[in-house]
Symmetry: C2
Subunit: 138 residues, 2 copies
DNA sequence: AATATAACTTCCAATATGAAAGTAAAAAAA
DNA sequence: TTTTTTTACTTTCATATTGGAAGTTATATT
């Protein structure tokens, strides 16, 4: 495990800009999404997501997210060359942000998004709390 | 007004990655924030925000957001060298995303964020719908 | 008439990203 | 038990994005 020195520096004391300083890139929330949706994931699992993240980028996002405390890395119970990534509560708490992105896209990019995504949006619309809890209480 | 050719291409049909393809940078949501919070803004107003966006970056985010239809640019009623930027409904509809960032940061970056931000988070916690409507129904 | 200002644009150095190839250790296959 | 795969990265390097500073142009102000 490497010691990363990426000092986080916040552009201001605004909670929005500060969150963006931490997760405001094109990949972090997709990593969170994968774990929230599928559960425990391996490096390879993330690599195979449709968006096609490069391994160098994936490696440093994972280590950044781990050092931020939104996810954990642990050993696979039987296979010693595989590691398992999971969300912490801090990570699951990003799920409402993800949900709002889904709702916005469902409204404005409807013709572009997948059927399962539309179903998920429908669930969120009819029962926001329940749907969020279902994903966050894992 | 220049014709920008930035073709948007989506990495996948996921609503989250697609939204990030449009707004997943460090500045777009801050521009939305400024208008949602203060109302109509000028180029200079945005430039003076605490985060310190550069004018080149500001210029191209504004034109990108305008071409995406989340904001509009119009003439100032009396001063012909000033332009006014406003949100469209599509832009206001990004506000719930912003609100969730505020709530997350209020929980996990509490010691770092400003007092007014904490107040806003409190409002959201006690009356989410009402608070969102207050900002989105402008 | 001279000066200042708003809204950009241009240019360039610095940083971030993506793609491809490489490495090490462990697991699976032969 | 030797060979081949597989997993989880790391390294390298070309390219894209960003930040900063210095213009530019058309008003507005003094």
């Amino acid at each position: 495990m490497k010691v990363k020195k990426d000092k986080i520096f916040f552009r201001s004391d605004c909670p929005i800009s500060s969150a963006l300083d931490l997760f405001g890139d094109k990949w972090s929330l997709l990593i969170i999404r994968d774990i929230a949706y599928f559960g425990e994931r391996t490096f390879k699992d993330f690599s195979e997501a449709a968006e096609g993240i490069s391994s160098s980028r994936l490696a440093d996002r994972l280590s950044k997210l781990e050092s931020l405390g939104v996810l954990t890395k642990s050993n696979h119970p039987t296979n010693r060359k595989v590691y398992l990534y999971n969300l912490t509560t801090k990570g699951f708490d990003l799920f409402p942000i993800i949900a709002e992105y889904v709702l916005w896209s469902n409204k404005y990019l409807y013709d572009h998004i997948s059927e399962p995504a539309k179903e998920f949006a429908k669930m969120l619309q009819s029962d926001r709390e329940g749907t969020l809890n279902q994903f966050m209480k894992k």
